[in-house]
Symmetry: C2
Subunit: 240 residues, 2 copies
Amino acid sequence: MRKDIHTDGIPVLCVSCEARHRGVCGALEPEQLVSLAKSSHKQQAQSGTELLGDAERIDTYANVLSGVVKLTKTLSDGRQQIVGLQFAPDFLGRPFKTESDLNAEAATDVSLCAFPKAAVERMMQASPELERRLYRQALDELDEARDWMVTLGRKTAAEKIASFLLMIARHIDPTDNPDGDAAAFDLPLTRADIADFLGLTIETVSRQLTRLRADKVISIENNRHIVVPSLSRLEARAGN
Amino acid sequence: MRKDIHTDGIPVLCVSCEARHRGVCGALEPEQLVSLAKSSHKQQAQSGTELLGDAERIDTYANVLSGVVKLTKTLSDGRQQIVGLQFAPDFLGRPFKTESDLNAEAATDVSLCAFPKAAVERMMQASPELERRLYRQALDELDEARDWMVTLGRKTAAEKIASFLLMIARHIDPTDNPDGDAAAFDLPLTRADIADFLGLTIETVSRQLTRLRADKVISIENNRHIVVPSLSRLEARAGN
DNA sequence: CGGAAAGTTGACGATCATCAAATTAAGTGG
DNA sequence: CCACTTAATTTGATGATCGTCAACTTTCCG
């Protein structure tokens, strides 16, 4: 009985899935993948779709396969803050809690691989390796959240915008030249989202972007597409 | 051979330790406690002591036994932000990373139970239950960080102060009447620390505290001791 | 082409930071 | 225990940054 080293026994669903390489599914053995894949399904959601409501019962987890999901919190009078952005292949979910205390919404069109909560939790029991990956991701998210607290609490509007653009560039620059100091990408967020992420207003976001453009640190095409000729020049404005 | 059900075989160091009840050590069997206790030691640090420097190699973890530890991040020009506060019996440390990217400093006099990093990691391998507790704490810290992001990004100075006082009251009100709407406590932070926590200046912190006192929402004795006659009245000012 | 949504720009004002000085608390050595 | 020093906090005056309100422009999509 011969075995193809890499893909034999791996569910079709998972063969080319990024989550199996850089995401949490990388922790699983082929037979565990098979078992999990049985109860999982791919799911598309278009920009703006609410994936999970505040105070809603959580019964599914998911991997982000493409697109960006925003996690938000809202005060009773409507003020909103984005408290997390999830890119592929992040794991979406909050183990050990039955109710969500935040909203998850598709910031762009997204595709997800959804699992029943119970299936993941069973798998976590069976695979310490999976739990460890989830733990690592939680720690990474905690690091990011803390970096963001500095931005929210101590940076100026101009620095916030520069920091935000840098973060996005690092996550989704398609031209991905590792040493190249240039970058270009489409913003996954509207001005309103950026404002909610940075604790600013739309107007301030717009003004600061205009200023960066006037100073030739970035150029903007069609509102959404950003070109950064020199990341180091942008970085100099992030105030770290 | 008789066994005292509760304390037999438990290291003296641990018998009355809070971390064994509500903290991560609760995950360990008596013999594991014994093994860990061998390499652990209690440690005192007075207010202001740096426990861990940014970019420093991490080689010890610790449980906070009493007092408050503040986690801070500093920008190159000196602006500072507190990104976490740890109370007893929190676990202090960042598994899976060899270098710290933040500072830990004793905000009050603290006592710690310190462990060599390697010992904890060995124990994590041996005890999924321990890893799970650490994971849970990381998730709790993430929840707190996200709540705080809303405060930093979207609340006014007045609301920030009220939110801060509420958080402290919940953590360290010694009079701990669960249904009682009143509370009293000593602030574990100086005005400067509170400012760094809330993304404000000392002056604004002072003015907002003065205003709360003028409005009889709190009273202040000796700068540090706060009495809150009605937590619900304070909560109404937190803007949630 | 036309209407709605998203983004930009401008004028003005409120909140909070900055600078400066006064007051209170906390140590320290005599 | 008290004078003296130093640190922490409060208070006041002023100004900059960013939010608010409003009008205008661009982009998107049927």
